[in-house]
Symmetry: C2
Subunit: 168 residues, 2 copies
DNA sequence: GATATAATGTTACATTATAACATAACATAT
DNA sequence: ATATGTTATGTTATAATGTAACATTATATC
């Protein structure tokens, strides 16, 4: 899950804290109301599952969990819900490992950078205007009009670095 | 295919030019020699196919083309060759569309940014130290040790922008 | 040549995602 | 309240991407 964070340049956006699930769901409700869209039970269930996961989850894991909740579900069930949530900016998709995670601040559209620990899987969404601005600058040099930038950084999170050092 | 380019900050690295295939293959040969690795016929065939493509290609398209060349090939055939080429930095993989393209300057390991036109598929590899350095800076703020950054930018290339404007 | 190592062949399967069409729920207007 | 169009979901089948496991072949080294 993700914690609502102050929208500062250096804040991490994905400190897990299951307290905050309800906040995100409420945000989703009002956001869909504003946009005159249906936040259906299915969509709510899927968003809640994504929020409760402490790491990005795969579509088929979500499918299993929906079924465990007694819901009749097939792949299109979950992919359609995810498509909706992606379009509304409520979740992000990580292309490098085909997983989905809740957006930490869905109120405003934003460019995001993801720090994915290759050891433990923990993933942080960070909003750093800097990276995206540099990307846009560079793209402009090539007459390239950016619509979306996927920035996914693999490496070691702090705690996994310590473990490795300890093992040496 | 990709043209060998001056290693300047603003140079595009993937101006198609099938003249340059041989250059890249020769580079691959000497590079594998230096590293005491076998640049086998299969690996050469796959690299050549990737080089000759004017856009990033999928693994199964490469598989088809290998078969058209009379080679007995199954999925592992092409994935193993691609794995080798990826490890040696001779090709890159685009996570956002599961495709592979020849590296424009395999001599030196480097961080790359890819500009992927969502209209026509044309993809440029650009080496822009700036982006990667900003990514690293940001990651450091979160005690995150970067090992690899995947930066894939979707948008419109120059020629597709003109077409859209013309259509208005 | 014998032996170990690396590469490829081959079969089967896992994982991720979508197409196509039927049904159900919802909104709006008579 | 019913009819009607629209949106969402159910359901089946299949496409697209990627890997595991083991047999065989080629290559290097002794
Ligand atoms: Zn976000
Ligand atoms: Zn970690
Ligand atoms: Zn490259
Ligand atoms: Zn284009």
């Amino acid at each position: 899950m993700t914690e609502h964070c102050p929208h500062s340049e250096t804040a991490s956006c994905t400190l897990p804290s299951s307290e905050q699930v309800k906040v995100l769901l409420d945000q989703a409700v009002s956001l869909c109301e504003q946009r005159n869209l249906r936040f259906t039970e299915l969509r709510k269930q899927v968003l809640e599952l994504v929020c409760r996961a402490d790491q990005p989850v795969g579509a088929y894991q979500l499918l299993d969990e929906l079924r465990e909740q007694g819901r009749s579900a097939a792949p299109p069930t979950v992919y359609r819900a995810l498509d909706f949530l992606l379009e509304q900016g409520l979740v992000h998709r990580l292309a490098t490992n085909n997983t989905y995670l809740a957006c930490a601040h869905p109120q405003k559209p934003h460019a995001a950078v993801f720090l994915v620990c290759s050891q433990c899987g923990q993933t942080q969404e960070v909003h750093t205007r800097g990276v995206i601005e540099v990307v846009k600058q560079q793209a402009e040099k090539f007459d390239f009009r950016v619509t979306h930038a996927s920035v996914e950084v693999a490496g070691l999170c702090h705690s996994c670095q310590s473990q490795k050092e300890g093992a040496q």
